[in-house]
């Protein structure tokens, strides 16, 4: 009997005015699989990821989680769905005005009315698992280095044990060693939680470390998807150029699409 995919996208399209960012994305992610999405800047990777947890609503298509359609559902259903997701953003997106312990336990505090002492204990426990000192919980995001902020963002994403983890360029802006540490933490977190992960990355060393499966987005469609170990022999010129970081090739002088901003008011 075939296993129901954890995530299944069919014919997903999204346009912002005349800018057609996604032109029919078809993709499946198996339970506990680690998918990494690659592609040039502005190709629609971040829009695709934001479609997965409802931050952006596609124009057409279908997105199923555990076989259940999520598009067209109401706000309450969407919020229930989001509780199953943890997400980190490219630049951390930690709340500047809150100390680290409140950042990490934000959802627990607001959704489960966790008291301050328990929240601080949970925050300290989670960030020590990620290699930070417990004393960090009273600091503010601006007081931490980029690598520490990435770890705190990871702690916030995993603290309530989500089924699906989304990582938007988790190692961007980090030195190779810190990037390697973040990759190790992502792999550990995934194994510990048994989570399915979808990661956007330009860092091919990181892709090779964390990916079970790789998908490349180009001009709003998936031009190749397959096991990470087959990435070098894809036979697709764009994938070959991207994976090997070649200046010459079909991806040269690509004009990035405008990055859309979400303007929802509810």
């Amino acid at each position: 009997m075939a296993v129901t995919p954890k995530i299944e996208l069919s014919g997903v399209t999204k346009s912002f005015d005349a800018n057609h960012v996604l032109k029919g994305i078809n993709l499946t992610v198996a339970p506990q699989e680690s998918l990494v999405i690659i592609g040039t800047s502005g190709c629609g990777k971040s829009v695709l990821m934001k479609c997965l947890n409802g931050l952006i609503t596609p124009d057409q298509g279908s997105i199923k989680i555990d076989g259940q359609e999520i598009l067209g559902q109401g706000r309450a259903a969407l919020e229930d769905l989001r509780r199953r997701f943890g997400m980190t953003f490219q630049f951390g997106a930690l709340f500047d005005s809150l100390p680290i312990w409140e950042n990490v336990t934000f959802r627990l505090r607001h959704q489960q009315a966790l008291d301050k002492k328990d929240a601080r204990d949970i925050a300290a426990q989670t960030i020590t698992q990620l290699g930070l000192a417990a004393s960090v919980i009273d600091q503010y995001p601006a007081e931490l280095s980029g690598g520490m902020q990435k770890r705190v963002a990871l702690a916030r994403a995993i603290v309530d044990k989500p089924e699906i983890l989304l990582f938007d360029e988790p190692t961007s802006g980090l030195d190779p060693i810190t990037g390697g540490v973040i990759d190790r933490l992502i792999i550990d977190a995934r194994e510990r939680l048994g989570a399915t992960t979808v990661t956007i990355s330009h860092d091919m060393a990181s892709v090779r470390r964390i990916a079970d499966k790789v998908a490349m987005v180009h001009h709003g469609v998936i031009i190749w998807a397959g096991p990470a170990e087959e990435m070098n022999e894809s036979g697709v010129p764009e994938v070959h150029q991207f994976v090997h970081g070649l200046a010459e090739g079909p991806l040269t002088n690509e004009k990035p699409a405008a990055s859309p901003a979400k303007m929802a008011t509810s």
Partner: protein, 258 residues
């Protein structure tokens, strides 16, 4: 000629579209004010920020306005021997007009800009999207407490400003112009009606709502990058200031029946 008409039409359409967006934004935000969960910590923080930390700037503004008003009215009224009305003119001008409008404009500069910059920065650094992913509605968490705090705090600020402004007039009247303190105070209270103060406070509540609304709206819809946040901040202050002046006329017409 054709281009001129086209420009007028486009400007009118843009104005109507912006008006519609702001109206929808404010309706959504007001709905969230009355919908649980309530973010008391956020509300308390905003009350401190808007109410407490704006006291010095509002106090200084109304103090010197009251002092200048006493001097100017004395100089003007002396021309037709009506110096006795200085205290009455100061108290009525401050409570009905200067207190709410000056406090509103000063708070628009301080708080409107701060709200737009803070929320705009949250927008461009994905913090607003992060709120969504953490099952928290940004409108309810960020905008509703600010609107409520603005509406609550401005009347209190104006009340304090009224007292300080009248006190400024008293200082100039008594120590510079030589009025008898008892007579000055008696004249201050003689023609002052409760409605002068309360309706000034109603104006203040309207201004507080508008300041917070403009700060939140422009921050929430901030463009990308530092330039986008800068533009949002400027737009918040300018639009709040203009709306205060327009609302001042409308509220005065409605309530004072002038």
């Amino acid at each position: 000629m054709h281009g001129f008409v086209q420009n007028i039409g486009r400007t009118a359409l843009n104005f109507l579209a912006a008006f519609g967006r702001i109206t929808l934004f404010s309706i959504t935000a007001v709905r969230w004010i009355f919908t649980p969960p309530y973010y008391w910590q956020q509300l308390f923080r905003q009350i401190i920020d808007i109410g407490y930390f704006s006291l010095p700037v509002v106090g200084l503004t109304t103090l010197f306005s009251g002092m200048v008003l006493a001097l100017q009215s004395y100089t003007g009224f002396a021309r037709f021997s009506a110096e006795d009305t200085v205290a009455t003119v100061v108290v009525l001008s401050v409570t009905r007009e200067l207190g709410p409008v000056l406090a509103g404009l000063m708070v628009a500069g301080r708080i409107g800009a701060s709200m737009a910059a803070e929320i705009g920065t949250m927008r461009v650094t994905d913090q607003i999207d992060a709120l969504d992913t953490l099952s928290t509605r940004p409108m309810q968490y960020l905008v509703a407490p600010r609107l409520l705090a603005g509406t609550i705090c401005l009347p209190f600020l104006v009340l304090v400003g009224d007292v300080i402004g009248v006190f400024g007039g008293y200082l100039v009247g008594v120590y510079r112009l030589g009025f008898n303190p008892s007579i000055y105070l008696a004249r201050t209270l003689e023609y002052l009606e409760v409605s002068d103060v309360t309706l000034g406070l109603v104006k203040a509540a309207v201004f507080g709502f508008l300041i917070a609304l403009m700060g939140c709206y422009h921050g929430y819809h901030s463009g990308r990058g530092a330039q986008g946040v800068g533009r949002a901040t400027t737009n918040a202050v300018v639009s709040a200031s203009i709306l205060i002046l327009i609302a001042n006329y409308i509220v005065t017409t409605m309530f004072f029946g002038v």
